[in-house]
Amino acid sequence: MIFDYAPAPESRSVVRLRDTYDLFIDGEFTPAEGAGTLPTVNPADETELARFAVAGEADVDRAVAAARRAHDTVWSRMSGAERGKYLFRIARIIQERSRELAVLESMDNGKPIKETRDVDLPLVAAHFFYYAGWADKLAHAGLGRDPRPLGVAAQIIPWNFPLLMLAWKIAPALATGNTVVLKPAETTPLSALVFAEICQEADLPPGVVNIVTGAGETGRTLVEHPGTDKVAFTGSTEVGRQIARSVAGTGKRVTLELGGKGANIVYDDAAVDQAVEGIVSGIFFNQGHVCCAGSRLLVQESIADELLPKLKERIGKLRLGDPLDKNTDIGAINSAAQLERIRELTDTVEEEGVQRWSPSCELPSAGYWFAPTVLTGVSQAHRVAREEIFGPVLSVLTFRTPEEAVAKANNSPYGLSAGVWTEKGSRMLWTAERLRAGVIWSNTFNKFDPTSPFGGYKESGYGREGGRHGLEAYLG
């Protein structure tokens, strides 16, 4: 007899949605001057959750001016210890409101509540807590005896980890005495706007944090605004290039956390069951909407026949569906546009000689969904081995020797993450040493921590977020 899971939905009652969200400038919610709005929908059922203001040039001007004022008159003059106490206070409020934020994030983003509750929100609070403690210890960070804030930081974040990316941007910026104007992604603005409420609740001085919502045009206006001293961006490599170009010659500092095509190398002596779990979390965590996803599985040829059936069996047990259901493993694709992008990259693979496999998996009728997919018979030349898909699609390649594994792993313009699975320590270290990537997970994958620097080599961007290294991006 087979028992199925009963529905176990998390209650939405903790979330109080407004019909329309204004911009957050100088400590107040304020309408955009153009008064245009955009909708944000729940990607799991395509219902509209709320509308939000679209910031134009005048609004970005106001936000930058407020941030400058706050920087010059309050925040950069405050003692580090006092700044730190504001950040500790914010961390505590986030912990208190974490259930609400987790549910809201799952509704706006489509990711499973299991992840927002157990991964995103704990990491968000921890990030503020970690950088809070740095605020009065900057002289000990190895960045000079009296490191100074840069000024006003323009920060642009993506939709895959909306609140976590906000934390990665705002916590180090504020700890170092900078003020910020942050633009969340247009498909996931809501948790940033609740964060604005938290700033009010914490009595954070007006103008220290400003949130401007909108689409690409708002982002461009913010990046090109002459009144900022720093641009921090997480998103696609293509937009990263544009930002690097537009910042050239301005003297603004810039850090970029961009795309990836992470290789996950499994040697023949790996603990296979553990490797299978790591491969699954490497690519299917957050529907594969992860820049550091292990999207290229490199498996040693001699164990491919043993590993792949186990992998498929495990993938067959993943539960796809309602993001708010506590048993859900795979939620919704974040937007129609992203779903289209995943389809566009995968629709023709079979014509190119690639074998495509998905478990039998019923997709909900409304919303944006993509079944977990494994592509075998992939070669280095295939688009699915070279381009970032940013979805639940795993490309499988094989190798014979360690040298070949490293060569294949490094054969990418990206260099954000990589995985190594082996029971032999010397082989793990040998491999990790040769991989040209910023984060190497050995016998694990997709682990994050505020103390651990994160960021890429090559076209995955520059600068690090997290840890002592993350302070460098905001100090002059």
């Binding site: 990263g240 170009r245 050239a248 313009p413 694990t444 651990s452 620097p453 076209e459 840890g467």
Partner: protein, 303 residues
């Protein structure tokens, strides 16, 4: 008899000096520019000193290829070994200090005292960075106390091939100050040296070539920044740019670098100065960190 008398009567002509042909330094060899071109180099008073090779776009590309080829070997040397080699550069330079001081007097119009000071500082700069090679990872890296049963460790690694635009007005000490940190950290370098005073760089190449610096680790181009600079700035196999000597073209090069997310060190204070702008004996890590990547490795802890 007549022959002997002539010798005794005519004054002995001064020995004809063997002049040096100043060439590029590419992949450990000293080729002329593939373009066959050269340009006249004069002293600050306008006296002709020598002809220098006028490097072409092709030379720049060859230099990048040589630097890439050398990167694997150089970056995998032990830090101790790199330190010993940089120290050897200082030793060989010390042995030739009169040559470099005389060159600086002639080419830059420095007083002998100022020339000596610049040469001494250049020698000491190699010693300084020789000492950094096996300390920088400890200063910039370390253990990260993650909240879970994981070993987590970050360490700096060289970014790869660095294209260096050396300071225009500081051809020896300035050049040393920008080059040494790049190779101390395990990167390989393609350097566009001072256009108006390139001879010290070619002399330095002879020091490098005899100091166990592997061929290709340092490649020196004499020529014009506006001609070869754009090709280095946009080259997809260049990982980082040092724009110190790029002058008015720095912003343009930074924009070109964006296409492949090439790391950029912008011109800092002293970029336009003479050798005396580079005398600070303790420049710290500021010229190393822009050319380093941080790699973080995780591993579970358990039985």
């Amino acid at each position: 008899m007549a022959k002997q008398r002539r010798t005794a009567e005519a004054p002995k002509p001064p020995r004809l000096a063997v002049r040096k042909t100043y060439k590029l330094y590419l992949g450990g060899a000293f080729p002329r520019s593939e373009s066959g071109r050269c340009y006249p180099v004069t002293s600050t008073d306008g006296d002709h000193l020598a002809n220098a090779a006028l490097a072409s776009r092709k030379d720049a590309r060859d230099a990048v290829a040589a630097a890439r080829k050398a990167f694997g070997g150089w970056s995998s040397r032990t830090a101790y070994n790199r330190g010993q080699i940089l120290y050897r550069v200082a030793e060989v330079l010390e042995g030739r200090r009169d040559q470099f001081a005389a060159g600086a007097e002639r080419a830059q119009g420095l007083s002998r005292a100022a020339a000596d000071e610049a040469v001494s500082a250049a020698i000491d700069r190699w010693v300084y960075y020789a000492g950094w090679t096996d300390k920088v990872a400890q200063v910039l890296g370390g253990a990260n106390p993650v909240s879970g049963p994981y070993y987590n460790h970050s360490a700096p690694e060289p970014t790869g091939v660095v294209a260096v635009f050396a300071p225009q007005g500081a051809p020896l000490l300035g050049l040393t100050s920008v080059l040494a940190p790049v190779i101390a950290t395990g990167n390989t370098a393609v350097v566009v040296v001072s256009e108006s005073a390139p001879l010290a760089a070619v002399d330095l190449a002879e020091v490098l070539a005899t100091s166990d610096v592997p061929g290709g680790v340092v490649n020196l181009l004499t020529g014009r920044v506006p001609e070869i600079g754009p090709h280095l700035a946009s080259h997809a196999d260049v990982n980082a740019l040092d724009l110190t000597g790029a002058g008015d073209l720095a912003a343009e090069f930074e924009e070109a670098a964006a296409t492949t997310l090439t790391r950029v060190l912008r011109p800092g204070p002293g970029a336009d100065g003479g050798e005396d702008a580079w005398l600070d004996p303790d420049p710290g890590t500021a010229r190393m960190t822009p050319f380093l990547e941080t790699k973080t490795v995780w591993h579970p802890i358990g039985v």
